[in-house]
Amino acid sequence: MRRTRDILAPLILVALVLIGWEAAVHLFSIQAYVLPAPTRIAQVLVSDGRRIIFPQLGITLFEILSGYALAIAVAFVLSVLIVYSNAFRRGVLPLIVASQTIPVIAIAPVLVIWFGYNSIPRIIITAIVAFFPLTVAVVTGLQAVDPLQLAFFRTLKATPVQVFFKLRFPIALPNIFAGLKVAATLAVVGATISEWVGASSGLGYLIAQDTQQLNTARVFAGLVVLGVCGMTLFGIVSLVQRLCMPWAYARPRFRRQKERIPVPQNAAVSLPSAAAGTGS
Protein backbone atom coordinates (compact mmCIF):
# COMPACT_ATOMS: atom_id res chain seq x y z
CA MET A 1 0.00 0.00 0.00
CA ARG A 2 2.60 2.49 1.11
CA ARG A 3 4.98 1.47 -1.67
CA THR A 4 2.44 2.05 -4.43
CA ARG A 5 1.62 5.40 -2.88
CA ASP A 6 5.33 6.29 -2.81
CA ILE A 7 5.59 5.58 -6.53
CA LEU A 8 2.24 7.06 -7.49
CA ALA A 9 2.66 10.43 -5.77
CA PRO A 10 5.63 11.71 -7.81
CA LEU A 11 4.10 10.31 -11.03
CA ILE A 12 0.88 12.26 -10.47
CA LEU A 13 2.88 15.39 -9.68
CA VAL A 14 4.94 15.03 -12.89
CA ALA A 15 1.77 14.42 -14.91
CA LEU A 16 0.15 17.57 -13.49
CA VAL A 17 3.24 19.68 -14.27
CA LEU A 18 3.37 18.32 -17.84
CA ILE A 19 -0.31 19.01 -18.44
CA GLY A 20 0.05 22.58 -17.08
CA TRP A 21 3.15 23.10 -19.20
CA GLU A 22 1.47 21.81 -22.37
CA ALA A 23 -1.59 23.98 -21.73
CA ALA A 24 0.51 27.09 -21.06
CA VAL A 25 2.50 26.69 -24.30
CA HIS A 26 -0.70 26.48 -26.38
CA LEU A 27 -2.65 29.05 -24.39
CA PHE A 28 0.02 31.76 -24.61
CA SER A 29 1.32 30.65 -28.08
CA ILE A 30 4.90 30.35 -26.84
CA GLN A 31 7.42 29.83 -29.65
CA ALA A 32 8.98 26.36 -29.76
CA TYR A 33 12.54 27.76 -29.59
CA VAL A 34 11.69 29.52 -26.33
CA LEU A 35 9.80 26.72 -24.62
CA PRO A 36 8.81 23.60 -26.55
CA ALA A 37 5.67 21.77 -25.44
CA PRO A 38 6.18 18.34 -23.76
CA THR A 39 4.49 16.65 -26.73
CA ARG A 40 6.97 18.32 -29.09
CA ILE A 41 9.90 17.12 -26.93
CA ALA A 42 8.45 13.61 -27.01
CA GLN A 43 8.17 13.83 -30.82
CA VAL A 44 11.85 14.81 -31.10
CA LEU A 45 12.81 11.97 -28.73
CA VAL A 46 11.08 9.51 -31.06
CA SER A 47 12.25 11.00 -34.36
CA ASP A 48 15.88 11.79 -33.37
CA GLY A 49 16.32 9.28 -30.55
CA ARG A 50 17.82 6.28 -32.23
CA ARG A 51 19.46 8.25 -35.05
CA ILE A 52 21.13 11.14 -33.17
CA ILE A 53 20.59 11.20 -29.40
CA PHE A 54 21.39 7.62 -28.38
CA PRO A 55 24.70 7.28 -30.28
CA GLN A 56 25.85 10.49 -28.55
CA LEU A 57 24.56 9.15 -25.24
CA GLY A 58 26.80 6.09 -25.63
CA ILE A 59 29.87 8.33 -25.77
CA THR A 60 28.74 10.36 -22.76
CA LEU A 61 27.79 7.24 -20.80
CA PHE A 62 31.31 5.89 -21.26
CA GLU A 63 32.71 9.14 -19.85
CA ILE A 64 30.23 9.10 -16.95
CA LEU A 65 31.11 5.56 -15.89
CA SER A 66 34.87 5.93 -16.42
CA GLY A 67 34.92 9.26 -14.58
CA TYR A 68 32.81 7.81 -11.77
CA ALA A 69 35.16 4.84 -11.41
CA LEU A 70 38.18 7.14 -11.40
CA ALA A 71 36.52 9.38 -8.78
CA ILE A 72 35.83 6.37 -6.54
CA ALA A 73 39.42 5.12 -6.80
CA VAL A 74 40.88 8.58 -6.06
CA ALA A 75 38.43 9.23 -3.22
CA PHE A 76 39.28 5.95 -1.44
CA VAL A 77 43.04 6.41 -1.71
CA LEU A 78 42.79 10.02 -0.49
CA SER A 79 40.44 9.08 2.35
CA VAL A 80 42.70 6.35 3.72
CA LEU A 81 45.70 8.71 3.54
CA ILE A 82 43.73 11.49 5.25
CA VAL A 83 42.49 9.19 8.03
CA TYR A 84 45.80 7.47 8.71
CA SER A 85 48.39 10.20 8.07
CA ASN A 86 48.40 13.42 10.09
CA ALA A 87 51.03 14.92 7.78
CA PHE A 88 48.88 14.21 4.71
CA ARG A 89 45.77 15.58 6.37
CA ARG A 90 47.51 18.83 7.36
CA GLY A 91 49.47 19.26 4.13
CA VAL A 92 47.22 18.02 1.34
CA LEU A 93 43.65 18.37 2.60
CA PRO A 94 43.68 22.22 2.39
CA LEU A 95 44.95 21.95 -1.19
CA ILE A 96 42.13 19.58 -2.11
CA VAL A 97 39.61 21.97 -0.58
CA ALA A 98 41.19 24.90 -2.46
CA SER A 99 41.04 22.95 -5.72
CA GLN A 100 37.27 22.81 -5.36
CA THR A 101 37.00 26.59 -5.63
CA ILE A 102 38.44 26.55 -9.17
CA PRO A 103 35.69 26.23 -11.79
CA VAL A 104 36.31 23.01 -13.71
CA ILE A 105 35.31 24.64 -16.95
CA ALA A 106 38.35 26.91 -16.57
CA ILE A 107 40.85 24.04 -16.46
CA ALA A 108 39.11 22.01 -19.18
CA PRO A 109 41.04 23.67 -22.06
CA VAL A 110 44.34 23.01 -20.27
CA LEU A 111 43.47 19.35 -19.92
CA VAL A 112 42.67 19.22 -23.63
CA ILE A 113 46.11 20.71 -24.39
CA TRP A 114 47.73 18.06 -22.17
CA PHE A 115 45.77 14.98 -23.22
CA GLY A 116 44.46 15.89 -26.70
CA TYR A 117 41.03 15.78 -28.30
CA ASN A 118 39.87 12.49 -26.85
CA SER A 119 37.84 11.21 -23.93
CA ILE A 120 40.70 11.36 -21.38
CA PRO A 121 40.33 15.07 -20.46
CA ARG A 122 36.56 14.58 -20.21
CA ILE A 123 36.91 11.55 -17.93
CA ILE A 124 39.28 13.57 -15.73
CA ILE A 125 36.83 16.49 -15.54
CA THR A 126 34.01 14.10 -14.63
CA ALA A 127 36.18 12.65 -11.87
CA ILE A 128 37.16 16.11 -10.59
CA VAL A 129 33.51 17.08 -10.25
CA ALA A 130 32.52 13.82 -8.52
CA PHE A 131 35.44 12.90 -6.22
CA PHE A 132 35.26 15.66 -3.60
CA PRO A 133 31.90 15.00 -1.90
CA LEU A 134 32.70 11.29 -2.04
CA THR A 135 36.05 11.86 -0.31
CA VAL A 136 34.39 13.93 2.41
CA ALA A 137 31.81 11.18 2.95
CA VAL A 138 34.37 8.36 3.09
CA VAL A 139 36.62 10.27 5.52
CA THR A 140 33.63 11.04 7.75
CA GLY A 141 32.63 7.38 7.66
CA LEU A 142 36.09 6.02 8.43
CA GLN A 143 36.40 8.40 11.39
CA ALA A 144 32.97 7.50 12.78
CA VAL A 145 34.37 4.62 14.81
CA ASP A 146 33.58 4.62 18.54
CA PRO A 147 36.76 4.89 20.72
CA LEU A 148 35.32 2.15 22.93
CA GLN A 149 35.12 -0.14 19.89
CA LEU A 150 38.77 0.60 19.09
CA ALA A 151 39.75 -0.19 22.70
CA PHE A 152 37.74 -3.42 22.51
CA PHE A 153 39.55 -4.45 19.32
CA ARG A 154 42.86 -3.69 21.07
CA THR A 155 41.97 -6.08 23.90
CA LEU A 156 41.47 -8.74 21.20
CA LYS A 157 44.95 -7.93 19.83
CA ALA A 158 43.55 -6.97 16.42
CA THR A 159 46.11 -5.90 13.81
CA PRO A 160 45.72 -2.47 12.13
CA VAL A 161 44.60 -4.24 8.93
CA GLN A 162 41.92 -6.12 10.89
CA VAL A 163 40.79 -2.88 12.55
CA PHE A 164 40.37 -1.31 9.11
CA PHE A 165 38.51 -4.10 7.35
CA LYS A 166 36.53 -5.54 10.25
CA LEU A 167 35.68 -2.30 12.08
CA ARG A 168 36.30 1.03 10.35
CA PHE A 169 35.15 0.03 6.87
CA PRO A 170 31.81 -1.59 7.81
CA ILE A 171 31.03 1.36 10.09
CA ALA A 172 31.79 3.73 7.22
CA LEU A 173 29.44 1.98 4.74
CA PRO A 174 26.32 4.16 5.28
CA ASN A 175 28.41 7.30 4.74
CA ILE A 176 30.22 5.75 1.80
CA PHE A 177 26.95 4.95 0.04
CA ALA A 178 25.60 8.44 0.71
CA GLY A 179 28.74 9.80 -0.96
CA LEU A 180 28.46 7.33 -3.85
CA LYS A 181 24.90 8.51 -4.55
CA VAL A 182 25.87 12.19 -4.62
CA ALA A 183 28.89 11.38 -6.78
CA ALA A 184 26.72 9.36 -9.22
CA THR A 185 24.55 12.37 -10.07
CA LEU A 186 27.57 14.69 -10.14
CA ALA A 187 29.31 12.37 -12.61
CA VAL A 188 26.42 12.91 -15.06
CA VAL A 189 26.75 16.68 -14.65
CA GLY A 190 30.53 16.54 -14.96
CA ALA A 191 30.52 14.46 -18.14
CA THR A 192 27.95 16.78 -19.76
CA ILE A 193 29.81 20.02 -19.09
CA SER A 194 33.14 18.42 -19.99
CA GLU A 195 31.83 18.19 -23.56
CA TRP A 196 31.25 21.90 -23.79
CA VAL A 197 34.96 22.56 -24.26
CA GLY A 198 37.15 20.89 -26.87
CA ALA A 199 34.72 18.12 -27.75
CA SER A 200 33.05 17.17 -31.03
CA SER A 201 30.78 14.41 -29.79
CA GLY A 202 28.66 13.36 -26.83
CA LEU A 203 25.29 14.36 -25.47
CA GLY A 204 26.69 17.48 -23.78
CA TYR A 205 28.22 18.56 -27.09
CA LEU A 206 24.90 17.92 -28.87
CA ILE A 207 23.02 20.00 -26.28
CA ALA A 208 25.52 22.85 -26.67
CA GLN A 209 25.19 22.71 -30.49
CA ASP A 210 21.38 22.60 -30.40
CA THR A 211 21.30 25.55 -27.98
CA GLN A 212 23.26 27.67 -30.44
CA GLN A 213 20.96 26.63 -33.28
CA LEU A 214 17.85 27.33 -31.20
CA ASN A 215 16.81 23.66 -31.57
CA THR A 216 15.38 23.94 -28.08
CA ALA A 217 13.13 20.89 -28.36
CA ARG A 218 16.15 18.62 -28.86
CA VAL A 219 17.97 20.39 -26.00
CA PHE A 220 15.11 19.35 -23.73
CA ALA A 221 15.07 15.87 -25.22
CA GLY A 222 18.78 15.55 -24.37
CA LEU A 223 18.15 16.79 -20.84
CA VAL A 224 15.39 14.22 -20.36
CA VAL A 225 17.77 11.44 -21.42
CA LEU A 226 20.47 12.74 -19.04
CA GLY A 227 17.94 12.90 -16.22
CA VAL A 228 16.92 9.29 -16.75
CA CYS A 229 20.62 8.40 -16.83
CA GLY A 230 21.28 10.04 -13.48
CA MET A 231 18.24 8.47 -11.86
CA THR A 232 19.19 5.02 -13.13
CA LEU A 233 22.73 5.34 -11.81
CA PHE A 234 21.39 6.55 -8.46
CA GLY A 235 18.97 3.61 -8.36
CA ILE A 236 21.73 1.10 -9.09
CA VAL A 237 23.83 2.50 -6.22
CA SER A 238 20.82 2.25 -3.89
CA LEU A 239 20.30 -1.36 -4.95
CA VAL A 240 23.96 -2.22 -4.32
CA GLN A 241 23.65 -0.60 -0.89
CA ARG A 242 20.70 -2.83 -0.05
CA LEU A 243 22.72 -5.89 -1.08
CA CYS A 244 25.85 -4.80 0.82
CA MET A 245 24.11 -3.77 4.04
CA PRO A 246 21.43 -6.37 4.78
CA TRP A 247 21.62 -5.63 8.52
CA ALA A 248 20.42 -2.06 7.97
CA TYR A 249 17.17 -3.34 6.50
CA ALA A 250 16.59 -6.16 8.98
CA ARG A 251 13.41 -5.88 11.03
CA PRO A 252 13.70 -6.24 14.80
CA ARG A 253 12.35 -9.62 15.88
CA PHE A 254 12.15 -8.70 19.55
CA ARG A 255 10.82 -5.19 19.58
CA ARG A 256 10.27 -3.77 23.01
CA GLN A 257 6.58 -3.83 23.70
CA LYS A 258 4.89 -0.48 23.70
CA GLU A 259 4.53 0.71 27.22
CA ARG A 260 0.94 0.32 28.18
CA ILE A 261 -0.37 1.71 31.44
CA PRO A 262 -3.02 -0.64 32.83
CA VAL A 263 -6.21 1.29 33.35
CA PRO A 264 -8.41 -0.02 36.21
CA GLN A 265 -11.93 -1.00 35.16
CA ASN A 266 -13.70 1.81 36.99
CA ALA A 267 -11.05 4.36 35.95
CA ALA A 268 -11.68 3.53 32.30
CA VAL A 269 -15.26 4.66 32.71
CA SER A 270 -14.35 7.96 34.26
CA LEU A 271 -11.42 8.58 31.90
CA PRO A 272 -12.65 7.71 28.41
CA SER A 273 -10.11 10.02 26.75
CA ALA A 274 -7.14 8.25 28.40
CA ALA A 275 -8.43 4.83 27.36
CA ALA A 276 -8.86 6.01 23.79
CA GLY A 277 -5.35 7.44 23.86
CA THR A 278 -3.68 4.10 24.65
CA GLY A 279 -5.33 2.47 21.68
CA SER A 280 -3.75 4.72 19.07
Binding site: T155, L156, K157, L173, A250, R253
Partner: protein, 267 residues
Protein backbone atom coordinates in the same frame (compact mmCIF):
# COMPACT_ATOMS: atom_id res chain seq x y z
CA UNK B 1 50.33 -15.33 47.04
CA UNK B 2 51.87 -18.11 45.05
CA UNK B 3 48.73 -19.82 43.72
CA UNK B 4 47.12 -16.61 42.47
CA UNK B 5 45.67 -16.50 38.98
CA UNK B 6 45.75 -12.72 38.93
CA UNK B 7 47.93 -10.82 41.34
CA UNK B 8 48.02 -7.03 41.45
CA UNK B 9 50.24 -5.15 43.87
CA UNK B 10 51.09 -1.52 44.50
CA UNK B 11 49.17 -0.26 41.49
CA UNK B 12 49.19 3.51 40.91
CA UNK B 13 47.53 5.11 37.90
CA UNK B 14 47.26 8.77 36.94
CA UNK B 15 46.62 10.64 33.75
CA UNK B 16 46.86 14.16 32.43
CA UNK B 17 43.69 16.20 32.86
CA UNK B 18 42.34 18.78 30.45
CA UNK B 19 44.13 21.61 32.33
CA UNK B 20 47.48 19.79 32.18
CA UNK B 21 47.54 18.68 35.82
CA UNK B 22 48.05 15.05 36.64
CA UNK B 23 44.92 13.43 37.99
CA UNK B 24 45.45 10.54 40.34
CA UNK B 25 42.95 7.81 39.46
CA UNK B 26 44.21 4.81 41.42
CA UNK B 27 46.29 4.84 44.59
CA UNK B 28 48.09 1.74 45.79
CA UNK B 29 45.74 -1.09 44.92
CA UNK B 30 46.43 -4.71 45.85
CA UNK B 31 44.19 -7.45 44.52
CA UNK B 32 44.62 -11.18 44.35
CA UNK B 33 42.37 -13.76 42.74
CA UNK B 34 42.62 -17.52 42.93
CA UNK B 35 41.62 -19.56 39.87
CA UNK B 36 37.84 -19.69 39.30
CA UNK B 37 37.08 -17.04 41.88
CA UNK B 38 34.37 -14.46 41.36
CA UNK B 39 35.27 -11.10 42.82
CA UNK B 40 33.38 -7.80 42.70
CA UNK B 41 34.63 -4.27 43.04
CA UNK B 42 31.99 -1.86 44.25
CA UNK B 43 32.37 1.88 44.66
CA UNK B 44 30.92 5.29 43.86
CA UNK B 45 30.71 6.17 40.17
CA UNK B 46 33.70 7.90 38.65
CA UNK B 47 36.04 6.43 41.25
CA UNK B 48 38.49 4.98 38.74
CA UNK B 49 37.23 1.43 38.48
CA UNK B 50 37.28 1.52 34.70
CA UNK B 51 40.85 2.82 34.86
CA UNK B 52 41.75 -0.25 36.92
CA UNK B 53 40.22 -2.53 34.28
CA UNK B 54 41.97 -0.68 31.47
CA UNK B 55 45.26 -1.23 33.31
CA UNK B 56 44.58 -4.96 33.80
CA UNK B 57 43.55 -5.27 30.12
CA UNK B 58 46.82 -3.63 29.07
CA UNK B 59 45.11 -0.63 27.48
CA UNK B 60 46.97 1.84 29.68
CA UNK B 61 50.28 1.82 31.48
CA UNK B 62 50.18 2.26 35.28
CA UNK B 63 52.69 4.61 36.91
CA UNK B 64 53.95 1.89 39.21
CA UNK B 65 52.88 -1.56 40.32
CA UNK B 66 52.83 -5.10 39.03
CA UNK B 67 50.08 -7.14 37.39
CA UNK B 68 50.84 -10.84 37.25
CA UNK B 69 48.76 -13.39 35.37
CA UNK B 70 49.73 -16.88 36.49
CA UNK B 71 53.01 -15.38 37.67
CA UNK B 72 53.73 -13.62 34.35
CA UNK B 73 54.00 -9.84 34.11
CA UNK B 74 51.29 -8.49 31.77
CA UNK B 75 51.62 -4.74 32.41
CA UNK B 76 50.85 -2.78 29.23
CA UNK B 77 50.16 -5.90 27.16
CA UNK B 78 46.66 -6.27 25.72
CA UNK B 79 45.28 -9.66 24.78
CA UNK B 80 45.89 -11.64 27.98
CA UNK B 81 42.52 -11.13 29.66
CA UNK B 82 39.01 -10.91 28.18
CA UNK B 83 37.24 -7.61 28.77
CA UNK B 84 33.50 -7.14 28.54
CA UNK B 85 32.85 -3.42 28.48
CA UNK B 86 29.89 -1.39 29.71
CA UNK B 87 28.16 -1.47 26.34
CA UNK B 88 27.82 -4.80 24.60
CA UNK B 89 29.74 -3.48 21.55
CA UNK B 90 28.20 -6.07 19.24
CA UNK B 91 28.99 -5.29 15.60
CA UNK B 92 25.74 -4.33 13.86
CA UNK B 93 26.78 -5.75 10.50
CA UNK B 94 27.55 -9.22 11.80
CA UNK B 95 25.10 -11.93 12.71
CA UNK B 96 25.09 -13.33 16.25
CA UNK B 97 27.26 -16.26 15.16
CA UNK B 98 29.75 -13.96 13.39
CA UNK B 99 29.82 -11.68 16.43
CA UNK B 100 30.50 -14.36 19.03
CA UNK B 101 33.38 -15.86 17.03
CA UNK B 102 35.16 -12.51 16.62
CA UNK B 103 37.89 -13.45 19.14
CA UNK B 104 39.06 -16.65 17.41
CA UNK B 105 38.63 -14.96 14.01
CA UNK B 106 40.96 -12.07 14.90
CA UNK B 107 43.40 -14.54 16.47
CA UNK B 108 43.55 -16.37 13.13
CA UNK B 109 42.02 -19.60 14.46
CA UNK B 110 40.18 -21.84 11.97
CA UNK B 111 36.74 -20.27 11.51
CA UNK B 112 34.90 -23.50 10.85
CA UNK B 113 35.84 -25.00 14.20
CA UNK B 114 35.12 -21.75 16.03
CA UNK B 115 31.65 -21.58 14.46
CA UNK B 116 30.93 -25.22 15.29
CA UNK B 117 32.00 -24.65 18.89
CA UNK B 118 29.86 -21.50 19.11
CA UNK B 119 26.82 -23.30 17.68
CA UNK B 120 27.13 -25.87 20.46
CA UNK B 121 27.13 -23.17 23.11
CA UNK B 122 24.26 -21.07 21.71
CA UNK B 123 21.70 -23.13 23.56
CA UNK B 124 23.45 -22.68 26.90
CA UNK B 125 23.29 -18.94 26.26
CA UNK B 126 19.59 -19.03 25.31
CA UNK B 127 20.38 -17.83 21.81
CA UNK B 128 19.37 -20.94 19.90
CA UNK B 129 17.66 -20.05 16.66
CA UNK B 130 19.19 -16.58 16.62
CA UNK B 131 22.60 -17.48 15.16
CA UNK B 132 21.78 -15.70 11.89
CA UNK B 133 19.95 -12.74 13.46
CA UNK B 134 21.52 -9.29 13.50
CA UNK B 135 22.08 -7.60 16.90
CA UNK B 136 19.41 -4.99 16.08
CA UNK B 137 16.85 -7.81 16.18
CA UNK B 138 17.74 -8.83 19.75
CA UNK B 139 16.45 -7.69 23.13
CA UNK B 140 18.80 -6.10 25.67
CA UNK B 141 19.21 -9.32 27.66
CA UNK B 142 19.94 -11.35 24.53
CA UNK B 143 22.55 -8.82 23.45
CA UNK B 144 24.32 -9.11 26.81
CA UNK B 145 24.27 -12.91 26.62
CA UNK B 146 25.72 -12.76 23.10
CA UNK B 147 28.42 -10.36 24.33
CA UNK B 148 29.25 -12.74 27.18
CA UNK B 149 29.41 -15.72 24.84
CA UNK B 150 31.80 -13.74 22.67
CA UNK B 151 33.90 -13.01 25.78
CA UNK B 152 33.89 -16.70 26.83
CA UNK B 153 34.93 -17.78 23.32
CA UNK B 154 38.01 -15.54 23.53
CA UNK B 155 39.38 -18.41 25.69
CA UNK B 156 41.09 -16.27 28.32
CA UNK B 157 41.40 -17.46 31.94
CA UNK B 158 40.38 -14.11 33.42
CA UNK B 159 37.29 -12.12 32.42
CA UNK B 160 36.73 -8.48 33.36
CA UNK B 161 33.08 -7.44 33.54
CA UNK B 162 32.50 -3.68 33.61
CA UNK B 163 28.89 -3.19 34.76
CA UNK B 164 27.57 -5.61 32.15
CA UNK B 165 24.00 -5.41 33.45
CA UNK B 166 23.87 -1.69 34.17
CA UNK B 167 21.60 -0.84 31.26
CA UNK B 168 19.11 -3.67 31.81
CA UNK B 169 15.84 -3.57 33.70
CA UNK B 170 15.74 -5.13 37.19
CA UNK B 171 13.86 -8.30 36.16
CA UNK B 172 16.17 -9.13 33.26
CA UNK B 173 19.15 -8.38 35.46
CA UNK B 174 18.01 -10.69 38.25
CA UNK B 175 17.47 -13.57 35.84
CA UNK B 176 20.89 -13.02 34.28
CA UNK B 177 22.65 -13.12 37.69
CA UNK B 178 21.83 -16.76 38.41
CA UNK B 179 22.61 -17.69 34.85
CA UNK B 180 25.97 -15.87 34.96
CA UNK B 181 26.99 -17.78 38.09
CA UNK B 182 26.19 -21.04 36.30
CA UNK B 183 28.29 -19.98 33.31
CA UNK B 184 31.20 -18.96 35.54
CA UNK B 185 31.24 -22.33 37.32
CA UNK B 186 30.72 -24.31 34.11
CA UNK B 187 33.41 -22.60 32.04
CA UNK B 188 35.78 -22.25 35.01
CA UNK B 189 36.74 -18.64 34.48
CA UNK B 190 38.10 -16.20 37.01
CA UNK B 191 35.85 -13.15 36.91
CA UNK B 192 36.13 -9.61 38.23
CA UNK B 193 32.94 -7.56 38.18
CA UNK B 194 32.59 -3.81 38.52
CA UNK B 195 29.23 -2.79 39.88
CA UNK B 196 27.31 -0.08 41.74
CA UNK B 197 24.78 -2.53 43.12
CA UNK B 198 25.53 -4.08 46.57
CA UNK B 199 22.96 -6.85 46.06
CA UNK B 200 24.48 -7.81 42.71
CA UNK B 201 27.98 -7.78 44.24
CA UNK B 202 27.05 -9.96 47.24
CA UNK B 203 24.97 -12.41 45.21
CA UNK B 204 27.62 -13.09 42.56
CA UNK B 205 30.86 -12.91 44.48
CA UNK B 206 33.18 -14.96 46.61
CA UNK B 207 34.65 -11.66 47.79
CA UNK B 208 33.65 -8.01 47.48
CA UNK B 209 36.19 -5.19 47.40
CA UNK B 210 34.75 -1.83 48.41
CA UNK B 211 36.55 1.12 46.90
CA UNK B 212 36.80 4.77 47.87
CA UNK B 213 35.92 7.78 45.70
CA UNK B 214 38.73 9.05 43.47
CA UNK B 215 41.58 8.46 43.90
CA UNK B 216 40.53 4.85 44.14
CA UNK B 217 41.76 2.79 47.07
CA UNK B 218 40.43 -0.39 48.60
CA UNK B 219 38.42 0.66 51.67
CA UNK B 220 37.74 -2.87 52.78
CA UNK B 221 37.05 -6.44 51.76
CA UNK B 222 33.95 -8.47 52.58
CA UNK B 223 34.29 -12.24 52.26
CA UNK B 224 30.96 -13.66 51.16
CA UNK B 225 30.33 -16.72 53.27
CA UNK B 226 27.47 -18.24 51.29
CA UNK B 227 27.31 -21.60 49.52
CA UNK B 228 28.71 -21.39 45.99
CA UNK B 229 25.60 -22.94 44.45
CA UNK B 230 23.24 -20.03 44.93
CA UNK B 231 19.77 -19.35 43.73
CA UNK B 232 17.91 -16.10 44.07
CA UNK B 233 16.33 -17.42 47.27
CA UNK B 234 19.61 -16.85 49.11
CA UNK B 235 18.83 -13.14 48.90
CA UNK B 236 16.17 -13.65 51.55
CA UNK B 237 18.55 -15.21 54.09
CA UNK B 238 19.83 -13.27 57.13
CA UNK B 239 23.43 -14.03 56.10
CA UNK B 240 22.86 -12.33 52.76
CA UNK B 241 21.37 -9.27 54.48
CA UNK B 242 24.32 -9.14 56.86
CA UNK B 243 26.85 -9.21 53.98
CA UNK B 244 24.94 -6.52 52.16
CA UNK B 245 24.89 -4.42 55.34
CA UNK B 246 28.69 -4.79 55.69
CA UNK B 247 29.23 -3.68 52.12
CA UNK B 248 26.92 -0.70 52.53
CA UNK B 249 28.58 0.29 55.83
CA UNK B 250 32.01 0.28 54.15
CA UNK B 251 30.64 2.31 51.25
CA UNK B 252 29.04 4.85 53.58
CA UNK B 253 32.20 5.23 55.65
CA UNK B 254 34.02 6.39 52.55
CA UNK B 255 31.35 8.78 51.30
CA UNK B 256 31.44 12.46 52.26
CA UNK B 257 29.08 12.80 55.29
CA UNK B 258 26.75 15.32 53.65
CA UNK B 259 26.08 12.89 50.79
CA UNK B 260 25.00 10.21 53.26
CA UNK B 261 22.88 12.59 55.33
CA UNK B 262 20.95 13.96 52.40
CA UNK B 263 20.23 10.43 51.25
CA UNK B 264 22.14 10.65 47.98
CA UNK B 265 21.88 7.31 46.26
CA UNK B 266 24.89 5.28 45.29
CA UNK B 267 24.42 4.98 41.59
Amino acid sequence: MIDARLHISGLHCSFRGTDGDRIEAIRDIDLSLRPNEFVSIIGPSGCGKSTLFNAIAGLLHPDTGTILLDGRDIVGQPGHVAYMMQRDLLLDWRTVLQNVTLGPELAGAPLKEARAHARMLLKRFNLEGFEDAYPSMLSGGMRQRAALLRTILCERPVILLDEPFGALDALTRASLHEWLLGIQREFRRTMILITHDPEEAVFLSDRVYVSTPRPMRIAGVVDIDLPRDRTHEVKLSPEFAEHERQVLALLRSEMPPEAVDSGVRLQ
